[in-house]
Symmetry: C2
């Protein structure tokens, strides 16, 4: 067997964070940062209010247990939002020579709380890696969750350039892309692209609670995608939404107003402009979704080739083996199978220039191509 | 090469619809029904207002061009919603011995229109296959789009059992599952699980139109899933929403009220019950999304095994080949790659009993397992 599957994260770059990195909070984010830094040989000292979570994180290799003698260069606060400000304050006082950052998903509220308490924030730089998983805890941690994701860094005029360099080095070391933003811009942005979408998915899925089983049997892939994130755990979201209430409410109000407009138009279709208002809603949605960056963090465009496959792993093996022979790189893949049927559809995303090669080569080898996007 | 990829749709059952099936409207749905019936050897006579669409459908093998001499057993009206009632009426008058069905996604409006005109509806049975694709037209038609999907059939007290049997046979022949519902229940159900989700995705995506590029750079998979269907074409949706306005407005009003409740709670977090109201929103979403049937049309539960793979087709080939050797059937698969990184994560869904076998066998063969859901 080759070991080509074990490509180390960012093996192409040496570690840039040096000395000890202290991570307070050994949950999903804290432990994942620990794993990524340990892969680069960085000394990682972990602390967690829960001894069992801490033991687990150490056992899984996210770092060693912190001691009283540690002299960290950088401290990463990765605790729940409602205690973030307290822990930042404690760490700043305890390690006056270290740079302190946090990874909380709201940036203005902890900053305001710290300012109000008169804490010296010279060595504090708030940050937020846009990464996560559906599952939490040290046990779900993974070194690669930051790779290619944005990592927002909130510096201010007082931030020493050397401190900023350390936090940006952390982001780069774990494979993320540092993006400088003000705390207010950050909070407005995540309200729009994360917090409100969560609420919208939850509100929509909430309408299914009292629906008839028979009605829900008609659900297809569209509504499943639209409500997928409604499965998120409530505890964390209550804290996040509470901490970022003002920007979230602003987007919710705009959404509520648009919703009322379209509902009124549907209620009174003969009103001048009503049908146009419905069409505009769908069209604005087209425009808006088109502005979201693609899977690859850019608007890079792939074509889809849909291949019929038997519903067996061996068939997929043959398919991918032959795509490899054809020198076609699979950028993304979705497997759909028809419930009850003995076959499925593999929707393969490839760069446009590879479509012809893939289709011709596969058909030559006896595969049935259900469709391609450039039909 | 084996031809095992070419498993015919429902080869296990003989055709049950006999005689000629006339399909009016050779777009995606009409042509797809044509392909599925042709696969079973049924005589399919196609008609379309657009000569070029008709030619295309015939060229692709969806059926033959209809002639004045046809004596159809069954007529399938698969035209846009705004002309469905007219075409149903015309077909009923023209072929008094045939059963007429339609596949429009709203059922009450055309029925009411036909009743108001005094059309004899004895041989009309409305139906709605819950199937589709993002791409329309004869060119995107596929014999298998109905497989395993529900096909709603709206009979009434006057419907002759023999007529009902013919429409249900059509659904079964193309691989769908017939479900009897009243037109009103159908329309309320699709408002909930299809029409409102479409509007919600469009309204949410609409909020991105004027957002800063920088804000949208923070978008992740969650918001991409939530807004995916916002890319749908406006023309058809304006017709569908217009035809099903009352049930859609009912769900929209409930949603708007829930949205206002949560926005007010976030606006005034110190109000008694405010935080609980936010938590309830997320929790109700958990409950609602949990009620949606799974990919397989049931709430069947799969476990996920996440495997690190090199970003090459060959690697996936090896992975699926080896899963085949391990006798692990892949129920679903999502490939995520970390933008900029040289590897990806293949999230494989398997039945719970296969998790251990998959993980142990793959690790033995040198694969790196990033996580499993039953960690």
């Amino acid at each position: 067997m080759t070991d080509s599957t074990a490509t180390p994260v960012r093996a192409r770059n040496a570690a840039r964070v040096s000395g000890t990195v202290r991570i307070v909070g050994a949950g999903l984010l804290g432990s994942s940062i620990g794993h990524a830094l340990r892969n680069l040989g960085v000394d990682v000292a972990l602390e967690d209010a829960s001894p069992s979570q801490l033991r687990l994180a150490v056992d899984y290799g996210a770092g060693r247990q912190a001691t009283g003698d540690d002299d960290p260069t950088l401290i990463v606060v990765a605790v729940p939002p409602d205690v973030t400000a307290d822990v930042i304050e404690r760490e700043l006082r305890r390690y006056p020579n270290a740079v302190v950052t946090d990874v909380a998903s709201v940036k203005l509220e902890p900053l305001n709380a710290l300012r109000k308490r008169g804490v010296d924030l010279t060595h504090y730089i708030g940050s937020h890696p846009l990464a996560g998983r559906e599952r939490g805890g040290a046990i779900s941690a993974r070194a690669d969750i930051f790779v290619g994701r944005p990592w927002v860094v909130c510096r201010d005029e007082e931030t020493p350039p050397a401190d900023l360099a350390i936090v940006e080095a952390l982001a780069l070391d774990v494979g993320a892309t540092p993006i400088e933003m003000t705390p207010a811009d950050h909070d407005r942005s995540v309200a729009l692209v994360s917090h409100v979408p969560q609420l919208v998915a939850s509100l929509l899925a909430g309408q299914f609670v009292n629906a008839a089983d028979e009605s829900l049997r008609l659900a297809g892939q569209g509504v499943r995608d639209t409500t997928r994130i409604a499965a998120s755990a409530p505890e964390l979201w209550v804290q996040i939404l509470d901490a970022n209430a003002a920007p979230v409410v602003e987007v919710l109000d705009a959404l509520a107003s648009d919703l009322t407009t379209v509902a009124d138009a549907l209620r009174a279709p003969e009103t001048p402009g009503a049908r146009r208002s419905v069409a505009d809603t769908i069209r604005r949605g087209n425009d808006g979704v088109g502005r979201l960056p693609g899977k690859h963090g850019q608007t890079g465009h792939f074509e889809q080739v849909v291949v019929m496959v038997d519903d067996t792993a061996g068939q997929l093996g043959r398919l991918f083996g032959e795509l490899g022979e054809l020198d076609v790189n699979v950028e993304d893949l979705r497997l759909e199978h028809s419930p009850g049927a003995q076959f499925g559809l593999a929707e393969i995303s490839v760069v446009p220039s590879a479509v012809r090669r893939a289709v011709d080569g596969l058909e030559e080898r006896g595969w049935k191509i259900a469709s391609t996007t450039n039909d």
